[in-house]
Symmetry: D2
Subunit: 499 residues, 4 copies
């Protein structure tokens, strides 16, 4: 296990690189633009699932008297009657989350989370439900709120409430509702959490502001999002982080799946669902050749597109060359391309000047980390006409009739117009569960008041739990081989920095 | 241009091979299961386009008095008020059908269809509208009916009617409506068609049955669908075909685009929209390695699936091997695969025995030519439970809880759950227009009472009209090179059998 | 089986397209530049095989007294002592030619070539030896000469002579030797051939000129090369072909393997062996997108090259677009590319003007059908310096120091600088054997004095004999399925024109 | 620039992981089996370059009186007369090493190595010559010996000697010659080196043993090889490293090119040159899915092979799954595969038990880091017959006649049977030059007596110097964007651990 000092060095680098504009953002409401976390049922293109609540009951859940079939009322959701439908959704999700199911099986003997009291604040989806029920099987008590006002699957929340969970969440919360739910989750007479599972940092933030004393009992924070991790590093830097925190966002497995493998599929899916464009023969420019860009480029090349790449980093640029992509500046190809995709993590990559020069019908979308990459604001001028042609699809029309097809108003295409496979969510959920176990059971002194990456060995363990899905058979080192390599037979097999 | 005799030989082969079960089918209502022809707006997964008619007016269009803004009433559609919205759809389609627009431009001088009176029976979509307006620009008069009771875009029909076309079609016709529309299209006092453009053979069939004398004035039939072409070959074989007919279904360009290139994209699209499955690492078996199978395999391999192929033809089988796919019998892999895709054109490829042995969660779908490939009927037994989880997606549940995910009830996935890019439709429409021109202008004696393929040179011309879309620059032969190769500088460049 | 009439129609098309410059070429010595036929051991880059004869015996084989160990002297080769080494080469080749070995096994009962007297004129290689010994096992008597003065593997010829074959061939024949060997092969007192197996047409030509009466006994000609087939079509057209001939060059299986699959590998191999160039990131232009071009482009794209394509045929051009290649005219990219590859079958595709504009270090090579594609003659001018840097590699140096790297002096790269896998040769040899069987056993009247393609069913049979190599398992049609498709369960499965 | 502390932490991890068997190896003669470093002309398959010395002069260079045309005799090489030919080789190499040429250009003003006295011990090839002449242009004085007794290009050594360099090297040195040359290089009256450039650690080792006082003047060591870096880490760990050392082996750019990109091409090249095997349809197992394995798998998949992967690390295993490869244990597929490739870095991966079960004709080769992966020793038993069929190719024959095709006796295939592109060598040479500059110019205290990685920024600089080769255009950050990302506009753009 790595020392705190090592992480500290790491942190400094990370912060310097990735987290600018600190002061402005710290006190703002979080933008919550993580790469993802929406499950299948939330996708706007997949809304025809049967059984979703059309009961347009206008009463606020906060104003209703709520009870489940056992008489328990310590929750606040939309409609408990949807519990059966939600249960089926959870069961379907279970089938695609074999790693959590495997953890449950192992927990039949020992309960590594016995005594753990977890407060959680994440998207409330079928996959989250599988996680929560796994934590319970591992011995924990859970109370949960939503980390996003739109993303709750009401039927899943109902199933959880019916199953005895204290859930406070519904789809379409107001901002006031949002904080009210978090507070209800945390603030219970006679109950004190000792673990935090957060996605975005709002729960952590709330406790810091309102119940700072609670941290005395808390053994650790597990945080998934870029935004939340950023805040933790800031706290740590400012000397204000008073418990250990685990950054699960940067584990290798999660990163590869969230970025390279997931985006390789979602770029095609997102473009097809919104525009039905044919990829063959299209000229595409992909801005940025990190993991996301690599995934997008590989997929489009395979479908017969001609792909150009822009980069600022010469190492990634050289990789793009060796992978068979022409490395250009945006202005060299902007007039000729059919599709522009941003995945830089930067701001103002596609500015008005470029938009003015695009050809008629050019599709513009963003796969990067936030909605800053395309300067959408610059298109809100009087001479341009906006025409919504589908949900998530706008035609922006120039005075000469030229139309640009703007997807998701420049927000994340894969979040808005595609779905995240359960398999990817399974990797995250398993990582979160293991991080909770690690922090909860770590011997005194292993973790200090700092931000840590998941130990390599646990990262490898998450991966190994997902191999059976592919009927994949891992080779074991012989004693002699392990000795030759200087490795433990059970890993870790690579140094911590290995990607 | 090839001689009729040559085609006759060709026909015999074709019939022997592709068209079995003749007697049974000839008198049946056509199944209309062409590979495709649905445009974007009809796709069941893309139904959220704004402006579609929600006016649930229950009066049958046949019972309404209809007039466009110029007082013309020779049409029958759903709602003339939708004309503006339909016009915009047509304008958008025009941008992606540059070949037809190029034909219009060339028609400014000469009118190759001057005097032509075309009756048409096809899907009524924005793309068809672009075709119809092109035919008019080339000098033709057009009357049109729908070839499918569900596929009409009402707003497009409205725009056509407003533009002066005699259109008889709406979404949701009854079977009686269907034939009524065709009859209205054909049977007009003082007007006799001299060209037929058909998709499925129903229009041709109707004229044969009701107005056989009309064929005296008819110079030719252009038919697009597999089914319709089949019928024409039967008529020809039976000596009953009394005018020349052009089989545009088997032109090289159309075939490659409809099958290889289109399916390469639609297999991914169809699977994602229905199941959100992650392709990476999945084991897939593709039954059949013709053009459709080649497209499916290439796409899935590129997305990281492990693909197995079954084949009956050793030549295609050897191609599968050389392309890197394990050639297996279905029973060798049926227990282990995650996805089963049929594209054989055969029947009972996936039978109950195989369905019984599939693993839990296995996805089953069909990309072949009809709904016969998966023996869906065998799943309609009492011990199995069907559960519809989304439109086009059924879970079939075995007594032990095993679920098979059946897509589109075994009908064509790409027809039901995906869309056909306008570009592909553009190739078909252009081929249809050129076939009309060729038949209408051919000198006496070039075409006899037989079925013909589009002359190679015209096939090449269709292709050349679509190259500007890709900013593709064709090389021209020098005189010396043409002489060396024994070719005309303007083509045809390959023998007729070249694929 | 198809009728002669059908083939005749086919022939006319073929001739019109592919065979120009007829008069000039007919009386010339054939250029013998078939796509291939050199086996492993002949490749100039693989000359280090142990055991090759270094015995620089200068006596002409024609002047030596020759006898094998059994006292038989009806042959003329370099050195009978090399027989053992040649036998081992043959045994190794047998392992990679399972189809011929399978034919031998089946011949244990019946001898389909019993009574056949075959004269052959092909490259004399280990693979040919496997073919000859298979023909013998099938009941035939064989006499053989070489079709190329350089390509004989002396040790293989020795093994054949030792095994009792009448072989007349050695490496390094003079032109006079060449015809002398053919004559010895044909002209034997008391022996008259009844089948001809030719590669290039020289044997056929010789018999026509010298022994026209021999054709009275000859039941058919099997011809493999483009050149030889061309001559046969000319004879047929001129009404001078007096026996049936089988064109095995154009069978589907052979074409796909010789062109698409073989070139996909040999383009990489040929470039590496000659130049050690790194493919990643290189800009390459491929002239011609037929099967050879498709193979080259696919391979280079996979290795990370950026590939441009030129085409004259709009259909192939559109395919190039859909496969993800920019379609350009040569002059648009000639200044920027690192590698130029011709595969058009045309002449003067790369002319001096283009060579003048290439950048320093540009590699130029030809994968097409002959040495006409690059205008090498235009480089033989005083101001340019030629420098041979390796065998098959010349630097052509401009006055300003610019160097062009010209491979194989513009001859076929894959013939000169790469090797043809035994597996590909196996397909050809099996096709030849089956063609001999078909012609020899065909009932009176099936074949007339014309040129025929191998029946589709036999083409499929060749493919099926090669599937076991890949442990590939073919699916069989059920009776019901065969009936549904209107097919015989044993094939043919596709119409004759299917590619 | 990162602090020493950070590197120290890093070092510990590295050592623990990669360098086992320390004690045994430390006192042994180094095996010198780095991944590579042989240039084109040394490859055993490319030996037909014209002009190579056939003058089989048997006198030892040590016994000859040597002088160049200016009368200088401070060198010891094979034959000064080959200087002209060597000069041309150097000129050709210069064209493919634009980065070094760019460094020379920049050095026209300042001389960052003015005063540097570099002793070097590397392969003596044309590429090394370009490096040496660049160092001189940057202001350094150089003395050089060979790091391998076979790898010297005599003609290049001659050109260097003629150009005034003190070179001590020839092809075919004895072990005694080897150390004599190193000593001559170091031990010169009145001259003391202040920089060491080593490849394998022998030069460093020699100075440590013989001239430890020399280290007082030495400002740093630049080491390229795995072996040499390993030794340096050992010295450092033992507290015996008395100067800073730069590990250039582990820079990102070098790693990616040496492993992923280079092996992607050399696996195909090495297999073709030795066996002429056709890749299409072949079943291949690749042991190990690190960078080398990824390169091998990608190439073979693209060529139509069916590829299986074995792995011990679950993270790499999961990547293999997502990339479309079946993850197996070796014993599951060993009977069926046609080719076995090791790239694990481990020992005894392919043991006799597996070799016994392989099928006839199976090809076995190693792309990993040394000759330990295949247990070749186990094949040296009386019942097996070895037959050398080509250089680098052995048939090992079982009593039942089964043959295994063993390549390069289990040594590195890409070192033995393929070549390393100059472009890859250029990256290494540039990295070495920059490392020398950095160490030589670093302010007091930046580097301690430890082993360092090249600063990220320099790694990026190496990459940027190679982009012009691909006509690749890097995008520059705007001030605003740099501020947003918290980056310097000139880099470094990624944290140090980024791969």
């Amino acid at each position: 296990v790595l020392s705190g000092k090592e992480f500290f060095v790491f942190d400094l680098v990370l912060e310097q690189i990735q987290f600018a504009d600190q002061k402005q953002e710290f006190n703002k409401r979080p933008t919550k633009i993580g790469r993802r976390s929406l499950s299948r049922s939330i996708s706007q293109s997949s809304t025809d699932s049967y059984g979703s609540d059309s009961s347009d009951d206008e009463t606020s859940p906060r104003d209703k008297q709520q009870k489940n079939s056992k008489g328990n009322g310590d929750f606040c959701i939309k409609n408990i009657k949807q519990a059966d439908f939600g249960r089926r959704e959870i069961e379907i999700a279970e089938q695609e989350m074999p790693a959590l199911m495997a953890l449950r099986k192992r927990a039949q003997g020992e309960k590594p989370l016995a005594g753990a009291k977890v407060v959680g604040c994440t998207h409330i989806t079928a996959q989250t439900a599988v996680l929560m029920e796994t934590l319970t099987a591992l011995g924990a008590q859970c109370r949960w709120a939503a980390c996003n006002i739109y993303s709750t699957q009401n039927e899943v929340a109902a199933a959880l409430a019916e199953g005895g969970f204290s859930v406070f969440a519904w789809k379409g919360e107001s901002e006031d509702d949002f904080w009210w739910c978090i507070d209800r989750c945390v603030n219970l007479e006679g109950w004190q959490p000792n673990m935090i599972l957060d996605d975005g940092g709002d729960l952590t933030h709330w406790i810091y502001k309102k119940y700072p004393n609670m941290f005395k009992k808390i053994k650790g924070i597990v945080e998934e999002s870029v935004t939340g991790v950023h805040r933790l590093y800031q706290l740590s830097k400012a000397g204000k982080l008073c418990v250990p925190a685990m950054n699960v966002n940067d584990s290798v497995t999660k990163q590869k799946f969230d970025n390279l493998y997931c985006c390789r599929e979602s770029i095609l899916d997102g473009l097809k669902r919104t525009t039905d464009v044919m990829f063959g023969g299209k000229q595409v420019v992909v801005c940025g050749y990190g993991e996301v860009g690599k995934g997008c480029c590989a997929a489009l090349k395979a479908m017969g597109s001609i792909v150009y790449v822009t980069e600022i980093d010469p190492i990634c640029a050289l990789q793009a060359c060796m992978d068979g992509f022409r490395l250009v500046k945006l202005n060299e190809v902007i007039r000729q391309v059919d599709i522009v995709i941003t995945c830089t993590g930067n701001k103002n990559v596609v500015v008005r000047e470029y938009l003015d020069r695009m050809k008629n019908g050019c599709i513009v979308c963003n796969m990067g980390h936030s909605n800053t990459e395309i300067d959408v604001a610059s298109l809100r001028t009087p001479e341009l006409t906006w025409e919504r042609v589908r949900s998530q699809v706008d035609h922006v029309i120039w005075p000469d009739g030229k139309r640009i097809v703007l997807l998701a108003e420049g927000r994340l295409l894969n979040l808005s117009c595609s779905t995240v496979p359960t398999f990817v969510l399974s990797i995250t959920a398993t990582t979160q569960a293991l991080a909770l176990i690690e922090l909860y059971n770590a011997p005194e002194g292993r973790y200090k008041q700092d931000v840590y990456l998941l130990p390599k060995k646990m990262d490898e363990y998450v991966a190994s739990l997902h191999l059976p899905t592919f009927d994949a058979h891992l080779t074991e080192l012989s004693d002699e081989q392990a000795k030759y390599l200087g490795l433990n037979k059970n890993g870790p097999f690579k140094p911590n920095y290995y990607r």
